[in-house]
């Protein structure tokens, strides 16, 4: 039976917790920041490296490594940008953090800023998150009023400003370089890499873009004994707790904080309370809509980065979408593909044309115009987007198509068999 391990949700799960600055301080907040101001930035980065934390936004890149890549002594300012543009379908963890415990995230953000030498951090929040934007702005105002932000937070002399910037609701602006373009006021389109943001990011300056949840882990990691405790929450290379957004046909959907060594089955049948109405499980999309789908037979696996990668899918943003035996998989895929066709920025060829084309083919199935040939074509068009695009959106659109066609071909055939 899986149980929650409360690190990030320590305050949120406390019914008496007040999310204001006073409430957060009462719960022990901003003590770690004070400690961090006493350390050298390099030491902070080193501790984060040791903790082994991997980015929670989807790619799972080690955060400490990312920070250590930041170009130094360029004569330009460095920036830290929090990626709060949480728009991967199925994911709703960052919203919880921002809405219910903004100061935990902000403290992590401030630690991150100090670690990478950033004096002005930006929080790029998804445009549709109106309540979260308001909460964050209020929290930042509180910090300024308290002097925690500004010229001299906690007497450290480290000038620090934070700006909350709301996006305009484009999925692609969750891609870090598109996010930076959008933040600069341009069209949100992914840039050519290299140069990576760590060398040339926001306004051409070294920039680190980190997920909200990743930053929210920082106060814990950098607290006394935090690194070792953090490491103990999961197997090697998959350290710490993570927030799992469980949705779909389970009895208890929600955001849960789990260790990295929990079996997926336990999550679905334990903490998720099993499939609703006593139905049978058909499949799971394990890491947001862009990950390859898993069949019911495959779910007996540890829910972490490496284990899922072994079976050719991914943890992504840890958004588990469960669907039962009654689910029409073709419609599900149509929904996903329609999303990617709508959200493709359109700049590069395979994704611009491929997302729309594959969506048309799936619609053909729904309209009863499917055929074996079209199924093959769908697989081919999807495959042609894989690994051929500038950013990961092409892959994100291709992986579900290919995996659905591969794992549920019968469901497609049902549409044109008779």
């Amino acid at each position: 039976m899986a149980e929650e391990t409360l690190v990030l949700f320590k305050n949120i799960r406390n019914p008496k917790y007040n999310k204001s600055l006073a409430g957060y301080k009462k719960a022990g907040g901003y003590k770690t920041l004070n400690k961090v101001f006493g350390m050298k930035p390099d030491e902070v980065v080193q501790e984060v490296k040791e903790s082994g934390i991997r980015g929670r936004g989807g790619a799972g890149f080690p955060t400490g490594l990312k920070w250590s890549f930041m170009a130094k002594e360029t004569g330009k300012p460095s920036y830290l940008v929090a990626n709060a543009d949480e728009s991967e379908p199925g994911t709703c963890k960052d919203r919880e953090l921002m809405l219910k415990d903004p100061h935990l995230f902000l403290e992590g953000m401030m630690i991150g800023c100090y670690a990478v030498g950033c004096h002005h951090g930006y929080i790029y929040v998804r445009g549709e998150f109106f309540p979260a934007i308001k909460t964050l702005i209020d929290a930042v105002d509180e910090l300024y009023a308290d002097g925690l932000l500004g010229p001299d937070p906690m007497g450290s002399g480290y000038q620090l400003d934070l700006t909350v910037h709301s996006g305009a609701g484009a999925y692609i602006c969750g891609e870090e370089s598109a996010l930076l373009d959008s933040l600069e006021g341009k069209r949100g389109q992914p840039r050519v890499k290299p140069p990576f943001p760590a060398v040339s990011g926001f306004n051409g300056c070294p920039t680190s873009v980190n997920n909200v949840e990743t930053l929210a882990c920082m106060p814990y990691i950098l607290s006394d004994g935090g690194v070792d405790a953090f490491k103990s929450f999961g197997p090697q290379n998959n350290t710490g707790t993570h927030l799992v957004s469980l949705s779909g046909h389970v009895n208890n959907p929600g955001v849960y904080e789990l260790r990295m060594d929990v079996n997926m089955k336990d999550i679905i049948y334990g903490i998720g309370g099993g499939i609703r109405n006593g139905k049978k499980l058909k499949g799971v999309i394990p890491g947001g809509s862009s990950s390859s789908v898993m069949t019911a037979d495959e779910v007996d696996v540890l829910y972490n980065f490496d284990e899922l990668a072994k079976i050719n899918t991914m943890l992504g943003s840890a958004a588990m979408m469960v669907f039962d035996e009654d689910t029409d998989v073709v419609q599900l895929l149509h929904r996903i593909t329609r999303f990617y066709a709508h959200e493709s920025c359109g700049q590069c060829t395979p994704c611009r044309e491929g997302t729309h084309w594959s969506r048309n083919i799936i619609r053909d199935f729904l309209n009863g115009n499917g055929s074996d040939e079209k199924l093959k074509r769908l697989d081919r068009v999807g495959g042609n987007m894989l690994g051929t695009t500038l950013c990961a959106l092409g892959d994100a659109a291709a992986l579900p198509i290919q995996s659905f066609v591969k794992k549920f071909p019968e469901d497609f055939r049902k549409y044109y068999a008779n």
Partner: protein, 543 residues
């Protein structure tokens, strides 16, 4: 320079250079749409994929890489032809064609369209896309170009052009995903003076020149390298013509002069190359009030006879020329005056002019001096100033012989009236103008598209034109006219081709000393000695 290998061939590269750029320099073709050497790299068309089989560290790249965005590295090995690469190009080409209207038969780009070329190479000939295509309407976006968005392949070159090259930002990408398209902002028409370049850089027929629409198929055009004589910048161009009719000018890359660009005004000078009505089509001589056709021999004979009769002194002879004349022509008329009449009374209008200074290079292409050879006239020390005081002095004396080359001082009627009273006025030029009306003998010259001639541009770079179209049957190049005229007047010049004139010029003048006509070739050569131009004024570009 460090070296990497493309298809087994060693290719040199500069540190930081991309694979594609190094390959193109080497003459190796890698198909591409969005890459343009003059603009930023976006790597969005995905056509230039190559297989990097060795990154330089012994390991291959995990997947196909876009050659435009990957830095070349020492020891790198790149395959541009293998099956994996062909597959990669095929899939990109298939994607590009699914929404392309395939209206090549009515598209002006047809024949010079890279989409067409690469589809021929990598396309399947059969589309599996059985849905309706994306359709947009035709848009009138500017004075010089038109936009057919259905043909667009979203390479964003045009968008980057107005952002990075002209800085006018009036053009952009709209919508997203499948509906991504290009247009002008707020549906206005463009006003920048370099729109023709957008038609040049558009790899497909989405942006085409209005001037050229539906006039001639691109593959019928013959091309000649030349320079634009529309102003003193001297942009390198190719004159594109068919059946002795010029259809358009296209810029030719010259990093020292115009890079890849030219202005719309320069492009429009193709019209005058086809002008026939105002052309002087045979030598003319004055009989009473009228000009009547005569032969070349008669013309030279008549001039020689009159000159002999009058036996003019140095102050009785003047020559007027404009800076449309080439270096050789200016040199020869100067030489003729000096050798034949011991006169240096050669005058040329040299009004003040303005050079724009701008952060955007392309703006500096436009000058207010609309003649091609001001620097050449200055180098040859031909007199002329804004007020023409010396000229007025000269015409006060008893004028006997006046040579007029081209159309100088066209607005100065008093001067023309005064010169009309001279005993012999010889006009040499390609077009009828107020001078040919008052001349006693008119000798038909040629337009620069019809002859070889060198011009000195504002950077003191000597560049040459080439014969693109056939000249009028009874016209002759001005250098030949001047040299034949000199012979008729008793000089022993014996120039049989332009090289000899140029060699003579480089021997006899300081400015051109040491220059060799054969050196001019593609990029032009700088003058040995440059004259200071007091009429030049720098102005800041309007923001």
């Amino acid at each position: 320079m460090p070296v990497f290998h493309i298809d087994g061939e060693p290719v040199e590269f500069e540190p930081g250079e991309k694979i594609l750029s190094a390959a193109l320099r080497r003459g190796k073709i890698i198909p591409h749409y969005c890459y343009h050497p003059g603009m930023s790299i976006v790597a969005t068309c995905r056509m230039c994929v190559v297989d990097v089989i060795d990154l330089g560290n012994g390991r291959p790249a995990p997947k196909l890489q876009t050659a435009c965005s990957v830095d070349a590295a020492e020891g790198m090995k790149v395959d541009t032809m293998n099956q994996k690469v062909e597959e990669g190009r095929k899939l990109v080409n298939e994607f590009l064609l699914i929404n392309h209207p395939l209206d090549c038969p009515i598209c002006d780009q047809s024949g010079e369209c890279t989409l067409q070329d690469y589809s021929f190479e990598y396309g399947s000939g059969k589309s599996e896309m059985d849905y309706s295509k994306r359709v947009y309407g035709w848009r009138d976006i500017g004075t010089f170009v038109s936009l057919e968005r259905n043909r667009c392949i979203q390479c964003s070159r045009c968008d980057r052009f107005t952002r990075e090259i002209t800085g006018t930002n009036e053009f952009g990408m709209f919508n997203r995903g499948h509906e991504l398209t290009v247009d002008t902002f707020t549906d206005r028409t463009m006003t920048n003076k370099f729109q023709g370049n957008m038609a040049d850089i558009c790899p497909v027929g989405a942006i085409t020149e209005k001037e050229f629409r539906f006039k001639r198929r691109a593959w019928k055009l013959k091309k000649n390298r030349s320079i634009c004589t529309g102003c003193s910048t001297g942009c390198n161009v190719t004159i594109e013509h068919d059946r002795n009719e010029v259809f358009r000018l296209k810029p030719h890359e010259n990093q020292n002069v115009n890079k890849w660009w030219m202005c719309d005004e320069g492009r429009l000078t193709y019209r005058i190359m086809n002008e026939r009505k105002s052309r002087i089509n045979r030598p003319l001589g004055r009989v009473g009030e009228n000009l009547e056709g005569i032969s070349w021999e008669e013309a030279y004979g008549a001039i020689a006879e009159r000159v002999r009769e009058m036996a003019p002194l140095a102050q009785n002879v003047i020559a007027l020329t404009d800076t449309h004349a080439s270096n050789e022509e200016l040199f020869l008329i100067q030489k003729l005056l000096k050798d034949g009449f011991s006169s240096d009374n050669i005058f040329c209008p040299l009004p003040n002019w303005e050079q724009i200074e701008s952060d955007f290079f392309i703006n500096t292409l436009i000058t207010t001096d609309k003649t091609p050879n001001r620097a050449g006239a200055l180098a040859l020390k031909i007199k002329g100033d804004a007020k023409n005081a010396k000229l007025k002095e000269a015409v006060k004396s008893d004028l006997k012989v006046v040579f007029v080359l081209g159309n100088p001082f066209e607005t100065e009627h008093d001067l023309q009236q005064k010169i009309k009273t001279a005993q012999l006025v010889v006009h040499i030029g390609a077009y009828h103008n107020s001078w040919s009306e008052i001349a006693d003998v008119v000798l038909p010259g040629q337009h620069y598209s019809e002859k070889i001639a060198t011009y000195t541009n504002k950077q003191h770079l000597v560049q040459a034109t080439d014969i693109a179209v056939k000249a009028l049957r009874r016209s002759r190049p001005e250098w030949q006219i001047l040299s034949e005229l000199a012979e008729a007047l008793g000089q022993n010049y014996d120039f049989t081709n332009i090289n000899q004139v140029f060699d003579s010029m480089s021997r006899e003048t300081k400015a051109f000393s040491g220059l060799n006509f054969d050196q001019i070739q593609s990029n032009g050569i700088e003058l040995a000695q440059t004259a200071k131009d007091s009429g030049k004024k720098l102005i800041k570009a309007a923001a």
